[in-house]
Point group: C2
Chain length 358, copies 2
C-alpha cells in the first residue's frame, strides 16, 4: 500500500476535523517545552544566526501547527532578553505530506503573525510551507538550525511487508504472531534511519532536533497493551453485522509503530549522524481534561473516538470505503467506554533531543 | 474594500478554473525568457551560490506556477554546463495570497520534481509555499537571489480611494473623469513603491528581479482602449435586465492598474533601491492559438471570457454575489464576439529587469 496519499489528518471542513480534535497532541507539545528550551539555549551558547531557520515536520493543520512555533518564538525571546543577545529573524517552514490541508494552514498564518507582532513586536517571523515526505529530502543542504517533529514519526512510510499473518488485528497486538513484531520493527528501523540520514544533510553542524512520537514501555513488544485492539474489535463487530468483510480486516494493518526507548537509542547510535543528548519516555492522558472535569465515561470515550477518527479516517476510508466510518466510530466509542482501563486512555510517548555532529 | 480576501484566481475544482484558463499567462512567461536568461547569466558572472533561493510571487495555482520555475531550472542548467560551473541547489518559494489554492499547487509539486529528476538528474530542487501579500515583507532579510513575478503586479492592494465618480465604468476608461486616472495612478505608485522597498530588503545585493505585468501603450491614460469597457457593458446589460442594481455597478471598480513604461521607470528611479537594467513593452494575443487555428470569433470570445472569468470571478462574486456570474460571462462573450477589434483580444504588457543596488 502506498500510504502517502491516504496518510493525512482530517481537513478543517471535515465533520470530525483534526483541528478540533487534537487537544492531546497539544498536551504532548507543551510537555516537551523544557527540552526545546534546553536545545535552543545550547544552540545559542555557540552562535546566534541572523536568521534562524526552523522546520516543523508533520505539522498537519489546525491549532497545533502553531503551538510549537509559538513556543519556539517564546523561548528565543526569553533567552535573547536574558542574555542580551540580538534577536534573530525567524524563518519557519511547516511540512506535511502533499495531501495535508495547507489551505486551511496558510489561512491561519496572518492571525498567527498578527498575534506575534502584538505580543513581541515585529521581530521578522516568516512562515512557509513545504509539502513532501520527511523520509525524503525536503530542504537544501545545511540550511536548518532547528527541527521539531511532534507525533508524526510513528507513521511509517508504508505498511510493513510480511504482516499477512496478523489476522483479526490491525496493528501489533498481544495476540499477533512473532513475525509481525519483527516486520513492524524492521520497517521502523529503515524509516527512522532514513529520516535521520536525510535530516543530517539538511541541518547545520551542531543544529538541534527535538522529536516526539508514540512509544511503548516494554522492551518486549508482545508484552504491551497498545490499545488498538479496540479499533480492531470495532471492525470485527462490523464483520459480525455483515457490513465489513473479514478478509478486509485481515488484510488491513496500520502503517504505524511504537518503539521502546532502547530501540530508538540504538537506531540513533547506529545511523551515526546525531549525538543523543536526551531521551525520555512519558505518559499523557488522551483526554487531558477528564480528571479535572470528572467527565462521564461515555464523554471521555466519545472524545477519544474523535481524536482517533480525526487521525485515521483517511487511511480507513482508503481501505474500507467511506460508508462504514460513522458506524465504526460509534462502535469504537462504545468499546472504549466499556473498557475504561484500556490503554487508549493514555498514550506512551518518547522524546529525543539530537545534535547534528556535522 | 479589503481586496485581499477576494483577490485570487479560481481554484482547481472550479467550473472555470484558472488552471485550465491561463494559456495567455503562459505565453507571457515564455516571451520574457531571454530577459530571465540575461539576468541569471549576469548574476552568475559574479557569484554562484551553493543554494540559489528563488521566489515566484503571485504564483497562483495551475500549470503556470511551474512554467517559470522550469524555465529558471533550464537556464541555470544550460549556463552551468556551458561555463563548467558547479550546479547550485535550488530553493524555490512560491508565493500568493492566503486564499490561493495552495492544496492544488502542492499536490502538483511531486510531479514537477519527478519530471525534473528525469530530465536533469537529481540536482536538489526544494519547493515551498509562502502565503501573504507581496506588498508586505514575505522573506527574511537578504535571503533571495532571484525574484520572478508574472501578471500579478497589476493587482493593487485595494481599490483606489476617490473613484466614486467613475460611474458606469469598472476600471479606467476613455469616458472616466480625470480624477479617476489620478486616483488609480496614485494607488499604483504607492503599491509598486512599497513592493520595491520590501523586495530590496529581501534580495541580496546584486540579486535580480524580473517583473512582468499589464501595461498601456499611451502616456496619457485617457487615450488608451483598456478593453474592460466590455465587462462594464456586460454588467450594464444585466442592469437593463433588472438583474443587477445600477448603484452596484457604479460603486464597483477593479483593484488593477495598467501603467505606461515611463511611469514604471520613474517609480523605480524614485524608490532608489534597484538599478533598472531593462524595460520593454510588448503585446501578446489573449488567445494565442486563434491565428494558427483560425478559430471562429465566438470560440475566441468564449476563451477570452473564460480567461477573464478565471481571474476575476472571486472579486466579482464578492461585490455582486454568485448568482449573476454565469449570465454575466455569457453576455461578456457575446460582447467580445461582437467587438473583434476590442483590445481584450490583445494585452499590452511590460517587463522590467531590476538589480538590487544593495
Amino acid at each position: 500500500m502506498a500510504a502517502e496519499n491516504a496518510l493525512h489528518m482530517n481537513a478543517a471542513e471535515h465533520e470530525i476535523s483534526y483541528a478540533n480534535n487534537s487537544v492531546f497532541q497539544k498536551e504532548v507539545i507543551l510537555k516537551v517545552r523544557p527540552i526545546i528550551e534546553e536545545s535552543i539555549i545550547a544552540a545559542f551558547s555557540e552562535f546566534v544566526p541572523a536568521c534562524m531557520k526552523v522546520a516543523e515536520l508533520g505539522c498537519s493543520s489546525g491549532p497545533n501547527t502553531f503551538v510549537a512555533i509559538a513556543l519556539v518564538v517564546d523561548i528565543i525571546h526569553a533567552i535573547c532578553r536574558q542574555q542580551q543577545l540580538k534577536l534573530p529573524e525567524l524563518e519557519v517552514l511547516l511540512n506535511d505530506l502533499p495531501e495535508n490541508d495547507f489551505n486551511s494552514m496558510f489561512r491561519s498564518v496572518p492571525n498567527f503573525i498578527d498575534r506575534l507582532k502584538k505580543e513581541k513586536g515585529d521581530m521578522g517571523c516568516y512562515v512557509g510551507g513545504v509539502a513532501g515526505s520527511f523520509y525524503d529530502r525536503l530542504f537544501p543542504t545545511r540550511s536548518l538550525h532547528f527541527v521539531h517533529c511532534s507525533y508524526a514519526l510513528m507513521w511509517l512510510s508504508k505498511v510493513p511487508v510480511g504482516v499477512e499473518s496478523n489476522k483479526g488485528n490491525i496493528f501489533m497486538a498481544r495476540s499477533s504472531p512473532p513475525n509481525v513484531f519483527k516486520a513492524y520493527a524492521d520497517q521502523f528501523q529503515k524509516d527512522f534511519t532514513k529520516f535521520l540520514s536525510m535530516r543530517s544533510e539538511e541541518i547545520i553542524p551542531q543544529g538541534r532536533m527535538v522529536l516526539t512520537f508514540m512509544a511503548r514501555k516494554n522492551q518486549n513488544p508482545s508484552d504491551e497493551d497498545y490499545g488498538w485492539e479496540l479499533l480492531a474489535k470495532s471492525l470485527l463487530d462490523l464483520v459480525a453485522q455483515g457490513v465489513v468483510k473479514e478478509a478486509d480486516v485481515d488484510s488491513f494493518n496500520l502503517p504505524m509503530y511504537s518503539p521502546c526507548k532502547e530501540e530508538v537509542a540504538e537506531i540513533v547510535e547506529r545511523e551515526g549522524s546525531f549525538e543523543n543528548n536526551e531521551l525520555q519516555v512519558f505518559v499523557v492522558d488522551t483526554v487531558p481534561l477528564s480528571r479535572e472535569k470528572q467527565l462521564r465515561d461515555e464523554d471521555v470515550a466519545k472524545t477519544i473516538a474523535n481524536t482517533v477518527r480525526a487521525a485515521t479516517e483517511p487511511i480507513l476510508c482508503d481501505h474500507f470505503g467511506d460508508s462504514i466510518i460513522e458506524e465504526l466510530f460509534i462502535r469504537f466509542a462504545e468499546n472504549v467506554a466499556n473498557a475504561p482501563n484500556n490503554s487508549m486512555h493514555q498514550r506512551v510517548s518518547i522524546v529525543v533531543l539530537l545534535t547534528n555532529k556535522g
